[in-house]
């Protein structure tokens, strides 16, 4: 296990980068706590794989340093960093049995036979492959193979971190849940630092202790799933997390009053004056449909029934608004207004979250 530190790290695939856009990964300074499970979440092309490959050593960063437990490993090879990596598709040695696959890394390091037997037995138990230990790896299902990939990484006790690069991509949907659960259990059991790259927010939010949300090479926010949900630091994080994501309205701000359309909304905080773009963010869960004409007027587009609740898709002056209505509440014809829970309102200036002064 190790603490991983990224210091002034950035990466560009071009020779002499000049603008921020030239960077696949923009400057990042971060310390990954030993033993935590992290998710790198973001859309395709956001730089999460680049970051993962830098951590694993497949890629050397064009700028900055990476340290494992205070030791500079920026130029160290993958093998020397003592990490394990599980790839998007299962990487197993087809001609070997499951057991031989798991033994392989230890054999190459010259471990003793007894030690190998012990480790393999223990890992096989953890990943539940005991019943197929003597089967050839070639004919197994994709999820079994991914587990073997994982097992091969974990069989070394001194492994610093386990990195996962969208490992559930080729897994059947109903097995995804199984594997995710097993991974989480393994993490609790063995306590390795785990970094999990994905573009699926459900995977990220259920697996990780902390989620790193990225977009366009930037790390936008690092926080627990709860923090990301309640207080997204950037409008993108608001959009990306939640199903559906956060609603954003263009507003004008005066102290603690937000002017939306022609209505005034009282806020819990007061904010400084600014000429930049101001947005009010609130999650569909905290928007209520009312028939009170004093509230904000909207037009309902359609209502989607999603088992446990209803999603109401509406428009406010042409801009999309989503409202989540609990299952037992009815949506009637006259409900063409919404009210916002002011405790759950976030204000964004230039897309970034700002904290105001609390009004007592």
């Amino acid at each position: 296990m190790a603490k991983i530190t990224l210091s002034n790290l950035a990466h560009s695939y071009i020779e002499n980068p000049t603008k921020p856009e030239d960077y696949a990964l923009r400057k990042i300074d971060h310390e990954w706590t030993d033993g935590e499970a992290y998710a790198l979440l973001g859309p395709s092309g956001c730089g999460k794989s680049t970051l993962l490959n830098i951590i694993s050593g497949i890629l050397t960063p064009s700028e900055g340093k990476i340290l494992f437990d205070e030791k500079d490993v920026t130029t160290e090879t993958t093998a020397n960093r003592n990490i394990a990596q599980v790839f998007q598709f299962p990487v197993v040695y087809d001609t070997m049995t499951v057991k031989e696959n798991l033994e392989f890394p230890l054999k190459n390091r010259g471990a003793s036979k007894e030690y190998i037997e012990k480790r393999v037995a223990s890992i096989a138990k953890s990943i539940q492959v005991e019943d197929i230990l003597n089967k050839k790896a070639r004919g197994l299902t994709a999820d079994a193979k991914q587990k073997i990939s994982l097992g091969r990484g974990m069989v070394r006790e001194d492994v610093n971190a386990i990195l996962f690069d969208e490992p559930l991509t080729v897994i059947d949907p109903h097995m995804k849940w199984e594997l995710r659960t097993q991974l989480k259990t393994l993490h609790k059991e063995l306590g390795h630092t785990m970094i999990f790259v994905t573009h699926d927010q459900t995977e990220a939010l259920t697996f990780a202790d902390k989620v790193v949300v990225m977009n366009v090479g930037c790390v936008l926010q690092i926080g627990t799933p709860e923090e990301l949900f309640k207080k997204p630091a950037h409008t993108f994080v608001g959009y990306f997390i939640g199903s559906p994501g956060m609603n954003f309205f263009d507003v004008e701000l005066e102290g603690n009053i937000a002017k939306l359309d022609d209505k005034q909304i009282e806020l819990n905080y007061s904010y400084e004056k600014t000429s930049k773009k101001i947005e009010l963010g609130i999650r569909p869960e905290f928007v209520t449909l009312t028939n009170n004409s004093n509230d904000i007027k909207i037009e309902i587009d359609r209502v989607e029934d999603v088992a446990h609740h209803k999603i109401v898709r509406a428009l406010l002056n042409g801009k999309k608004v989503n409202i989540i209505v609990p299952e037992d509440e009815k949506v009637t014809e006259d409900m063409t207004y919404i009210s916002l829970d002011k405790d759950k309102i976030n204000i964004y200036v230039d897309s970034w979250l700002v904290e105001g002064e609390k009004i007592s």
Partner: protein, 289 residues
Amino acid sequence: MRKTVNQKAWFLVLPVILLVAFSAVIPLMTVVNYSVQDTFGNNVFFEVGLEWFEEILHSERIHAALGRQALFTTIILLIEIPLGIFIALNMPKKGFWASASLILVALPLLVPWNVVGTIWQIFGRSDIGLLGHTLANLGIEYNYSQDVLSAWITIIVMDVWHWTSLVVLLCYAGLQSIPSAYYQAAKIDQASRWNVFRYIELPKMMGVLLIAFLLRFMDSFMIYTEPMVVTGGGPGNATTFLSIDLVKMAIGQFDLGPAAAFSLIYFLVILLVSWAFFTIITNIDKQEN
């Protein structure tokens, strides 16, 4: 990979079947016809036909040609397959030299077979050929038209020169299609170079290796032009392989009957060996699953 059962897959295969059947089935029937007929037009079926087959099967001359052929094919397979793999492993994968190597390696394959024979015929002559001249200067006894060993070595080296690149190209393409993740995983597992070859590269190349092997087997069994041009089957009949003998018979005796019978038997030998291989491989596949 688990294949799904889908009878509609026949539609995807249909164009191929139609095209090949059009070419194969119709003509083949004509050939079968020939081999049981007397060429001069007496449509006396069967009795005459079986006679030809009998004659072929018992002919000593045919047995000798078959023996020579088997020896030749075995030798070149033993050289070309490992050599091809070895070269493919050493070919550069990126950059200018990758393209340059590909083109240069492919050149021998593109030379028309009569030209191949012609090149080597001149190449090996001690008076005007680079090879022959050099060997003569080094004091080595070499004469492919009179010495059996020289003739064999010349033909073998010529075939290796001509066809190893086929194995190289197939293995190279096979190697290139191994995802880099496997190599990375091997690095993480600290596998040795030999282990990488044995557990990653070789298994993944099995498919193309089989193709290379069977292709070389089939084609070397049918070899005609190149040895014909260089040695004409000689000295004597030292390098008279199967097809050379077949053509000699057909032209010499001006009798298509036994020739056609010979073709069929010829075809059957190749068929048998390939079927054997095919079955072995698919059985191994089945066992693994």
